[in-house]
Symmetry: C2
Subunit: 199 residues, 2 copies
DNA sequence: GTCTATACGAAGATAGAC
DNA sequence: GTCTATCTTCGTATAGAC
């Protein structure tokens, strides 16, 4: 996120109570999504669970999609601050994140749903968010790969940027495959990718 | 699909005209999705474009999701019969499929949308379809990997089943990343994955 | 068997009162 | 800043004409 002001994501609530209320709504909404994923989560049901009208939600978020994106963003940020940032290798970091994700199927479901809808034509906000996110995550992974290449931990006959894209894609895709069929062993399969990268 | 009768996918239309009409609907629907993806595609809009009532569609397909799955299945089968089945290496086959897909963004969008909704709780049909599909595709790729390992074309220090899952995941994920940001160079990036697999 | 007509409830979004 | 009321569209279900 390039903009420093968190409230700028919605349309209003830029001051005092508005910001607090917004955070409160997001906190409550996260719980809803963690247990329900993205299916039983209409604006009206979320509003009902939280205890406001659905129109009130739309006061803080321009559309259902913006609310969903904000919820995902908020949940992701919260997890990053909860886990003490171990900062391991490029693949190891992805493995760690993926195994964490898979414990909260609702979030993976939400993520997948949002990525899918961001591909559709009407989704300016979602498209921008995920385009930026993919770029940032790929960049981070590529940077770490370069470090590891310099340290002799990763083979140097492949382009770090391309490998980074593959790692991110494989991680996303495997989480989906795992949700549909847990027999694929997410961690060990991502481990095989790490084997491929060793010099 | 384990059942040999194609008409069994819907609920009726098992005979003569019904089958033909069903195919006709699918052919027309494919065009709709190829240009619109999955967003402007409500049951009613599809019906309107095809020239039937939305209730008529539900005569051939139990639900909107079943129609969408059938459309995707039909489009995929059609493409397989159109391209003369080159049957190359494991990764090469995925590269070929992915580069074909990316020429029809609507289908990738449809695929992603369906996979996402198959994760949700209400989706029995979609979930079964994609679980089977992933299993079949992974199995095919793994078989080819084993052949290539025997031929000395692929390194043998990795499990073919795990690599197959990674190839499928990476292919799916990269198509999405490419749609959001074409600068990642889909073919060359998947080529890097091929490099990793060489002995 | 095939399809039209119609109805129902839920959804996202908007307008305007308070 | 938040609500009620309302609009439109959606998926789905049913009745019954042909």
């Amino acid at each position: 996120m390039t903009d420093g002001d968190p409230a700028v994501i919605g349309r209003r609530g830029s001051y005092a109570k508005g910001v607090a209320r917004r955070q409160e709504i997001l906190d409550r909404a996260i719980e809803v999504f963690q247990e329900r994923g993205a299916d039983g989560t209409s604006l009206r049901r979320i509003a009902e669970t939280i205890g406001v009208s659905h129109a009130a939600l739309l006061h803080y978020f321009d559309s259902r999609e913006q609310l969903l994106v904000a919820v995902y963003e908020h949940a992701e940020a919260k997890r990053h601050s909860d886990s003490p940032r171990s900062d391991p290798g490029a693949v190891e970091g992805m493995v760690e994140a993926a195994t964490q994700n898979v414990k909260v199927p609702g979030l993976v479901e939400l993520y997948t749903t949002l990525v899918a809808s961001s591909l559709e034509s009407g989704s300016e906000h979602g498209r921008a968010f995920f385009t930026e996110r993919f770029e940032r995550v790929r960049g981070d992974v590529a940077d770490r790969l370069r470090e590891e290449q310099a340290e002799g931990k990763v083979r140097t006959d492949v382009d770090p940027d391309q490998i980074a894209a593959i790692i991110v894609a494989a991680s996303d895709g495997l989480q989906i495959q795992w949700l549909l069929d847990p027999s694929i062993e997410l961690e060990r399969t991502l481990g095989a990718l790490a084997t491929l990268l060793r010099p």
